[in-house]
């Protein structure tokens, strides 16, 4: 396996951002009410991630270390604005169903996380492949979670009605369904002894952006004191 394919494998399977690293929980829970929404959100994030990784990697020797986070935020926010405008123009239906979660790609931990952990250390070609891998991993997870919720909650797949087997369980496409599906998913991963961010001591905010780490550390310190 060459190093480009290794990046894709890493993003989709080994360090899948949603299932293994547990990053970007907000969009994962919020937009997976249908497979189409999950796919749309995943692809928009994929687009932002590829370009943000590329630009940050190309500028890694120009951006001074002290102001790197604000610089990354500006780059990511500009890209998100571009994606926002393109989606508004060409896919208005999807745009309105994803709503506020499109501008909120800016604060998606995956993007700043990859910039900080990988893209600012390597050459642009590897950074782009990493963006594709991580973005695909995110897209696939969101689409699959969306499929499950859509199937259980409205008995359709990608918007196509299925022959009526039983009554749809509407709660799965409402807010509680998102938490339920995630809970069962993580429990299954735990039962299969797959190492995820969830079975480590600091769950939830592990690796989530630069500023979270400070919080996690102080939390850990408090625990050792008590």
């Amino acid at each position: 396996m060459n190093r480009y394919m290794e990046r894709i494998y890493n993003g989709v399977i080994k360090e899948n951002p949603t299932i293994i690293l547990m990053l970007g929980m907000c969009p994962t829970l919020a937009v997976t009410t249908s497979a189409i929404n999950g796919l749309g959100m995943g692809l928009s994030t994929l687009a932002v991630l590829i370009f943000s990784n590329m630009i940050i990697s190309m500028m890694r020797n120009i951006i001074p270390d002290q102001v790197r986070l604000p610089a990354y935020i500006v780059i990511v926010a500009s890209l998100v604005t571009v994606v926002d405008l393109i989606m508004q123009a060409y896919v208005p239906g999807l745009y309105s169903s994803l709503g506020i979660y499109i501008p909120l790609i800016v604060v998606n931990c995956i993007i700043l996380g990859r910039a900080e952990a990988y893209a600012n250390k390597v050459s642009p070609d590897l950074a782009i492949m990493d963006g594709i891998g991580m973005g695909l991993g995110f897209t696939i997870s969101l689409t699959v979670i969306g499929l499950v919720r859509e199937f259980l909650g409205s008995a359709t797949l990608f918007g196509k009605a299925l022959p009526e087997l039983c009554k749809p369980i509407a709660i799965f496409v409402k807010a509680p369904g998102a938490f339920l599906v995630m809970a069962v998913l993580v429990a299954v991963l735990n039962a299969a002894h797959i190492k995820t961010a969830a079975n480590k001591k600091v769950e939830g905010c592990d690796g989530c952006c630069a500023s979270c780490s400070k919080m996690c550390n102080s939390d850990a310190k408090e625990e050792t004191k008590a």
Partner: protein, 193 residues
């Protein structure tokens, strides 16, 4: 006018609860809800930051972006303003009131990346709220966040002592508790407002 402000508070805090029905700020909701005390401090910090950031975002939008027809730049402007603002609030509190800083300080950097803060600023613009309505919505949302995280912390303190099947220990049981809370909060959706 007064009734509509009360309605904004009820809607943002209970009906459209920011965590349990909008899924914003999940990261800190799951990560920092181990103890009621820390959750309450985080909630306090969120209320503080959201009130200020909604106010500033509204002023910027009304007096800078709208007159220059730069509305499409709101994402960039808001995230930068919020990040800077949180830094400044942190420095200001450190200088002026060390007691509050002791209680809220460590949570402030965490809030910068809390998508709920940016979410509220953008929602306010989309809903066309004026200055007072924006601040009210910011405070209401933050109160909703505080209620949710304190309730979850309460549940988690109890869960700690019970015997849970091994695969469900840790994150899954927390997510399940959140699911049950979300079901309870769905009841507010039927309020006739």
């Amino acid at each position: 006018m007064n009734t509509s402000l009360i309605m904004i508070i009820i809607t943002t805090a209970l009906v459209n609860n920011v965590v349990l029905s909008q899924f914003l700020g999940i990261c800190s909701f799951l990560g920092v809800s181990k103890q009621i005390k820390t959750s309450a401090s985080l909630g306090g910090a969120v209320i503080f930051v959201m009130a200020i950031s909604s106010a500033v975002a509204n002023l910027l939008y009304t007096y800078l972006l709208a007159p220059l027809h730069l509305e499409y730049l709101n994402t960039i402007v808001f995230i930068l303003v919020i990040a800077t603002l949180v830094q400044m609030v942190e420095m200001f509190l450190k200088k002026t009131s060390p007691a509050i800083y002791q209680a809220l300080g460590i949570y402030l950097p965490l809030i910068t990346t809390n998508c709920a803060v940016l979410g509220v600023a953008i929602t306010n613009v989309q809903d066309g709220y004026n200055f007072i309505q924006s601040v009210t919505a910011g405070v209401g949302t933050a109160i909703g966040y505080t209620i949710a995280i304190i309730l979850l912390a309460g549940i988690r303190e109890r869960i700690d002592e019970s015997n849970i099947p091994a695969p469900f220990r840790g994150a899954p049981v927390v997510l399940l508790s959140a699911a049950l809370m979300a079901i309870a909060f769905m009841g507010f959706g039927n309020l006739a407002l």
